[in-house]
């Protein structure tokens, strides 16, 4: 299973979003079962965002839970101008950004294991040689260097890279989530990619 499948145009009115509104209405009336369904629907994507922002499983776990709790407490303020998912994402990303600001100098990685499908990912096959006997060790090292490089980005740049290049959200959706315009998202993305390219130059050149 690949965590956090890239989302397509999640803002479009789909049966899922219409169903979300029904679940939101029921949750507002105090039906915990309805909110439980909303949590199960988005838990993987929210957790993935928190994890990619922090590179720490325990922090991601806390932040994801706190995001859902905060969303539940703020359900009465949800007006339905955007989809529930976008609104929830906004809460989660803001929570992660605030967390990173507070913990700027106390960063520690607690990385999740790579799944078995990693060796069949065509993008990664091109980066890692099949013939090397220490291929698994190479992947682990690459994972650590990649996460370390991402942690060096500012919280705003990190959020854009995570949301676009890892989570697959479109620019417009990121702009709405982060409360800025699309141009700002594009420029942040460009700058963040440039930084990452510099930090990971040796691994990119190996290709």
């Amino acid at each position: 299973m690949i965590m956090a499948e890239p989302a397509t145009n999640i803002e479009a009115e789909t049966p899922a979003t219409a169903d979300d509104m029904s679940l939101v209405s029921r949750s507002r009336r105090g039906e915990m079962a309805a909110y439980d369904e909303l949590v199960r629907r988005y838990q993987e994507r929210i957790y993935a965002t928190m994890y990619h922002m922090t590179s720490n499983h325990e922090d991601a776990n806390d932040l994801a839970q706190e995001s859902f709790i905060k969303a539940y407490q703020a359900l009465k303020t949800f007006k339905g101008d955007s989809s529930f998912y976008t609104w929830l994402y906004r809460i989660a990303v803001n929570k992660a950004i605030n967390f990173i600001k507070q913990r700027r100098n106390r960063i520690s990685m607690s990385l999740n294991d790579l799944d078995v499908q990693v060796e069949h990912d065509p993008d990664l096959v091109a980066l890692i040689s099949h013939k090397t006997p220490r291929r698994e060790a190479g992947l682990a090292e690459l994972q650590e260097k990649l996460n370390a490089a991402i942690l060096k980005l500012s919280e705003q740049h990190r959020a854009v890279v995570v949301l676009h290049d890892i989570q697959g959200l479109p620019h417009e959706e990121i702009a709405e989530t982060m409360g800025c315009n699309v141009g700002t998202v594009r420029s942040r993305l460009f700058y963040a990619r440039q930084q990452l390219q510099g930090l990971l130059a040796e691994y990119l050149e190996k290709k």
């Binding site: 299973m1 690949i2 965590m3 956090a4 915990m32 909110y35 439980d36 949590v39 199960r40 838990q43 993987e44 957790y47 994890y51 990619h52 499983h57 991601a60 776990n61 994801a64 839970q65 859902f68 709790i69 539940y72 407490q73 990385l111 999740n112 294991d113 790579l114 799944d115 499908q117 990693v118 990912d121 993008d123 990664l124 091109a126 980066l127 992947l139 690459l142 994972q143 990649l146 996460n147 991402i150 890279v161 290049d165 890892i166 460009f190 990619r193 990452l196 390219q197 990971l200 691994y203 990119l204 290709k207």
Partner: protein, 169 residues
């Protein structure tokens, strides 16, 4: 794909590694249950803490409200009784024919015994005691001296009080 994206193609491939990072097996199985438990715990804590906080800050009011809840009839009767007493007090105070004789009776004895206007007595007492170093005005027995309160004990004068006056008769 734009030219800008093409420039970062290798980086995009490298970032694909992040999608394969997985939490421990079974992590999501009870995630929603954990969130639900925390929400319920917070709700209970909020309601309990508000109640306890009220009990700590205003214990008398808390006990009174408990009494209101337990015995509303008794509290209602007590409230009506207090209101009747208050109304009766207001009515009695506002009756001039009842208040005036009482006031006159209470003031009558004071007129003869506690008057402050005793010039002869004080002047004689001072003279008889042989007080020295006093100026001439204070020793004149024929002078009518009115005792009045000191203007001020701490420097600045009180405009409502006047210094002692010496009226020679």
């Amino acid at each position: 794909m734009s030219e800008n994206d093409n420039n970062f193609e290798a980086l995009r491939q490298l970032l694909a590694l992040k999608k394969h990072e997985m939490p421990p097996p079974g992590y999501f199985e009870d995630f929603s249950a954990r969130v639900g438990r925390r929400i319920r715990t917070l709700d209970e804590y909020d309601s309990r803490s508000t109640n306890e906080q009220f009990q700590e800050t205003s214990p008398w009011l808390y006990r009174f409200l408990e009494l209101v809840q337990a015995r509303p009839a008794l509290v209602g009767m007590g409230t009506v009784g207090a209101f009747v007493l208050l109304a009766a007090g207001i009515v009695l105070v506002n009756r001039p024919e009842a208040a005036a004789p009482q006031l006159a009776t209470s003031l009558a004895p004071m007129d003869s015994s506690s008057s402050l206007d005793m010039p002869q007595t004080i002047a004689s007492a001072d003279f008889a005691a042989g007080v020295s170093n006093v100026d001439e005005a204070s020793l004149t027995t024929g002078t009518n001296v009115s005792l009045q309160p000191v203007a001020s004990m701490f420097g600045s004068g009180n405009s409502l009080l006047q210094p002692a006056s010496f009226n020679g008769n």
